[in-house]
């Protein structure tokens, strides 16, 4: 095939600007051919180069006493004592899930699993953070159906429990759903694998599924210009194969127990291109690949297609010379295709040979090092004024308002979702979505230790005030981990935003990052991995800013942990933290008043920290029977959730002469509810006061319903029905 000419159109179709193309010309000292252009375009895409976000991500706190590996590798690594390491990361699969929800979500799970086992960890838990459009928006239901089935289809099959997550509905996601998945794995600190290739002349192995024409980016050209078979336009959707994913995971972990691997990298976005460039670049070596040896699924694949294919379930590794056979034997045992497709070199260049011809010969360093790095203009979000309680009407009927809130899309039980996930496989799930608890708890096999995992963000708040919303997202993970008695250690994140070329969006992005970072610094809670998903918009309508945060904590002794469900008849309900009745941007305002205005509740990071530290201390000293944080819906919702989990009613003390809606539904931050046995009440409250922490007794557990003086009374059965029925009824309607 004659080499097609590179025209301005070709360059534009590859998403490269003229300036970017000029840099390529300079670095090469000549015009690139199409393959080379494709490789530059993939490496310099937003997805691979983080060109709009890089300089802002660098602001994050990324170091800490427990950080073994911060951002920059496939996943972050933290030390969790005794030679154990937790390896984790969150990633988005938004765009693919909009096009094909099942496969998009499934391949998202496959991808995040590979990121984690690539580093030598056995994945032990999956989480999913989902945002859908309004329930009544056309398509919402089938998107939920497909996404949940896709996550289940992949995670259940590979046998990694899906233990938690979050789900939001908002018209802001009508055109752009978000599917963020997180994986946590465990490894030994002395057996962690990295992607930097080392040495010269070492064999480069390809293993896993064969390469097909899946998800090729320059789709316009690739399918029209290069597909000799003609006929139907090839879909570019990637299809997940969890069976091969599982085999690949087992084979890699088996090989990692030997000394055969020098470097390993999964093939994610921009497949063979980004994996080989990253390996070579990080190791400071060159790489030469013979594409004839790449296992191929489709006939007559071009070099361009092979380099840009996003076929799933593939890995690239540099093998120690002399260990080739060992590697091949293990891959054969697991019935995987594997081939030696090239070697490392000392040229610092990426050389590709196809059909005996050199089809690409470019320096590696500029692909990564000279990637664009933009300081995009930004405009900050207009500050909203706080909304005084007095300006918000009370509900006509508190009981009715409570039932509506318990059954509203923001709060209703997600059972319909998580019952489709295998939450128990591997036999170490101690707590999961099933309890409705604040964080999932996964035991470290054969020990009494556990890790706690949560994902949180409140897009309503981020939209109202990116900085406060960013702070709140981190604070809520920290609070959720504290509520189960885990010491919060580190976070990962997935930053989902609209078009960064719009100053307002860039303002949201930077605002959220700065807010998140402020919280990370106060909590000494570093960011060790993450992912950015931009351009989530349709017809100029961007999603609400959604910086999803995934937090990890350590429970040293499983016999001393907090649960949501332990309240006993007669226990006193204690509130930790201050309530002023903040209804701005609250669920009450949205679902009862149909409004979304007002400043969101601010997070006082200092009191957040001392409150959380205190709650963990109480859990460790076995002072509390149950713990739950207050978040969406305020203290009454949290109290109802505790009552439902324990199957014990609770009577709240009415406070003051009213109005009560600020007290009951206000979303003040930094608060926890505790169920405490009579003998512990005084010590818990007085110690809190000594520490300068607001604490008061606000009710008593017992009976079969939830009440608050003569303001409201409702049976647990009614609450349960309201809470449990909304989602299944909606999905079946």
């Amino acid at each position: 095939m004659p080499d097609p000419e590179i025209t301005p159109d070709t360059i534009a179709e590859h998403g490269l600007s003229e300036d970017e193309y000029q840099v390529i010309l300079e670095r090469l000292g000549r015009a690139p051919n199409l393959i080379e252009l494709g490789i530059f375009s993939a490496m310099w895409s937003e997805h691979c180069s983080y060109k709009s976000s890089r300089r802002h991500l660098q602001k994050f706190l990324t170091a800490g006493a427990r950080v073994i590996q911060g951002p920059g590798e496939n996943a972050g690594v933290i030390d969790i004592d005794d030679g154990d390491a937790a390896i984790f990361k969150m990633e988005s699969h938004n765009h693919p899930s909009c096009i094909e929800p099942y496969q998009g979500a499934a391949t998202g799970v496959g991808g995040i699993l590979r990121d984690v086992f690539t580093m030598g960890a056995r994945p032990v838990a999956l989480m999913n953070a989902l945002r859908f459009g309004a329930p009544d928006n056309h398509g919402t239901k089938s998107l939920i159906d497909g996404v949940v089935a896709g996550i289940a289809g992949y995670g259940n099959c590979v046998g990694v429990p899906t233990v938690g997550g979050e789900t939001n509905f908002h018209p802001g996601y009508n055109g752009n759903i978000l599917v963020n998945v997180m994986c946590v794995g465990l490894a030994r600190t002395d057996n962690i694998f990295y992607c930097a290739a080392r040495g010269v002349g070492n064999p480069v192995f390809y293993v896993g599924s064969r390469t097909g024409r899946d998800g090729i980016h320059g789709a316009t050209m690739a399918s029209a210009g290069f597909d000799g078979d003609g006929g139907e336009k090839r879909p570019t959707v990637q299809v997940g194969d969890p069976f091969t994913g599982k085999l690949l995971m087992e084979a890699c972990l088996e090989l990692m127990a030997t000394d055969a691997i020098i470097a390993i990298q999964d093939m994610g976005a921009a497949g063979l291109t980004s994996s080989s460039v990253e390996m070579a670049n990080k190791g400071g070596v060159g790489i030469e690949l013979n594409l004839d040896h790449v296992p191929q699924r489709d006939r007559n694949m071009t070099a361009y297609e092979m380099m840009l294919s996003e076929s799933q379930e593939r890995m690239l590794m540099v093998i120690r010379p002399g260990r080739e056979q060992l590697a091949l034997d293990i891959f054969q045992k697991w019935e995987l295709d594997a081939a030696s497709i090239g070697q490392t070199t000392d040229t610092g260049r990426m050389v590709l040979v196809h059909h005996g011809k050199t089809v690409c010969d470019i320096p590696v360093a500029p692909l990564a090092g000279d990637a664009p790095d933009y300081d995009r203009p930004r405009a900050s979000t207009k500050k909203r004024v706080p909304l005084p309680v007095a300006d918000v009407p009370e509900p006509r009927d508190y009981r009715d308002a409570l039932l509506r809130i318990m059954g509203c899309p923001d709060i209703a039980s997600r059972r319909w979702i998580w019952e489709q996930y295998d939450r128990h496989v591997m036999a170490d799930t101690i707590d999961s979505s099933q309890s409705g608890g604040d964080a999932a708890v996964i035991r470290i096999h054969n020990t009494h230790k556990a890790i706690a995992i949560t994902t949180d963000v409140t897009p309503r708040y981020c939209h109202a005030d990116p900085y406060e919303g960013g702070k709140q997202a981190v604070a809520e993970t920290w609070r959720n981990l504290s509520a189960v008695g885990a010491d919060p250690i580190a976070i990962t994140n997935c930053l989902n935003f609209g078009n960064p070329e719009q100053p307002e969006i860039m303002g949201q992005f930077v605002g959220c990052i700065e807010g998140m970072n402020a919280a990370c610094r106060v909590f000494d809670y570093p960011v060790v991995s993450g992912n950015v998903s931009l351009y989530n918009e349709t017809d100029g309508a961007a999603i609400p800013p959604t910086p999803a945060v995934g937090g990890i904590g350590l429970i040293r002794d499983l016999s001393r942990r907090g649960t949501i469900s332990g309240a006993e008849e007669g226990d006193t309900l204690i509130m930790i933290g201050e309530t002023t009745g903040r209804l701005g941007s609250s669920v009450y305002l949205l679902r009862i008043m149909g409004r979304e205005d007002g400043a969101p509740p601010p997070v006082d990071l200092e009191s957040e920290k001392i409150n959380g530290d205190y709650v963990r201390q109480l859990i460790r000293n076995r002072r509390v029977n149950a713990v739950h944080d207050c978040s969406d819906g305020g203290l009454i919702v949290a109290a109802c959730e505790m009552a439902l989990a324990a199957n014990t009613g609770v009577a709240l003390n009415p406070v003051g002469p009213g109005p009560h809606h600020g007290w009951l539904f206000g979303e003040d931050q930094g608060r926890y509810l505790l169920a405490t046995a009579a003998r512990s009440v005084n010590p818990v409250i007085s110690t809190a006061r000594d520490l300068g922490i607001k604490a008061c007794s606000i009710g008593t557990f017992g009976g079969t319903g939830v009440s608050c003086g003569d303001i409201l009374e409702v049976s647990l059965a009614e609450l349960r029905t309201a809470h449990e029925d909304w989602l299944p009824d909606f999905m079946e309607s």
Binding site: A152, C157, V158, G159, P242, K246, L247, Q420, H424, A427
Partner: protein, 220 residues
């Protein structure tokens, strides 16, 4: 006592099963790879674990049931070796013909993972003797194809011969006559969709599953 777990590509409850067996026998079970062709002679009890052998492609359990190890498994089961299959293991046992019937897609078409109450319908079997005095147990279920089907004649025979060992209380998948677990005529081969091996530790939320393992191990 030596026990064994057979591992197929994409079995994923092999560890769950191994943990339960070790708990009851005090000894790590052998893990037998599906390509092996024989089960060592000293093995007294074999578990076929849950999971998605071969990705559940074609039909759940179908491809696994044609693995090299199966020939010896069937032969040994024929001489009385106890063999239990949980979840995918049950599907594999029906595909090999060691147990009658088949497992269809759940009635609700969705994967279902929840704590499931079961009635113990025969406490005289080798797999249930430890449940004497317990009418009900709770095991987790986690499956997509757990809807037990057999023709009426077979169902009648299973019931008459006391081979239905567990029934669902609140059928999660549409199984005929609420059947959750059955054994073969000789009583040594047993299969069920729920996961007793995931209910052997108080931290799992319950230990009802232990009785199943102690029953069979004590019968040896």
């Amino acid at each position: 006592m030596q026990t064994a777990v057979i591992v197929f590509p994409a079995s994923n409850c092999d560890r769950d099963a191994a943990v339960a067996l070790k708990k009851v026998t005090g000894r790590d079970p052998l893990l037998i790879w599906h390509r092996d062709t024989s089960i060592p002679g000293d093995v007294r009890f074999v578990v076929i674990p849950g999971g998605f052998s071969y990705g559940d492609y074609l039909r759940s359990g179908a491809i696994a049931a044609r693995s090299p190890i199966i020939r010896d498994l069937v032969a040994r089961a024929g001489t009385g070796l106890p063999v239990a299959g949980f979840c995918n293991g049950f599907q594999i046992l029906t595909e090999t013909g060691l147990l009658p019937g088949a497992l269809l897609r759940n009635r609700g078409l969705k994967f279902v993972c929840r704590a499931q109450t079961l009635a113990v319908t025969n406490i005289e079997s080798r797999y249930t003797s430890a449940y004497a005095g317990m009418d009900h147990v709770t095991f987790p279920v986690a499956h997509h194809d757990g809807n037990y089907f057999a023709d009426d004649g077979t169902l009648n025979r299973l019931e008459q011969e006391g081979r239905v060992l567990f029934r669902y209380v609140g059928n999660p998948n549409g199984s005929a006559r609420d059947i959750a677990g059955i054994c073969n005529g000789a009583g040594n081969v047993f299969g069920m969709m729920p996961h007793p091996e995931r209910a052997v530790d108080p931290l799992h939320g319950g230990t009802d599953g232990l009785g199943l393992f102690t029953s069979i191990v004590e019968s040896l």
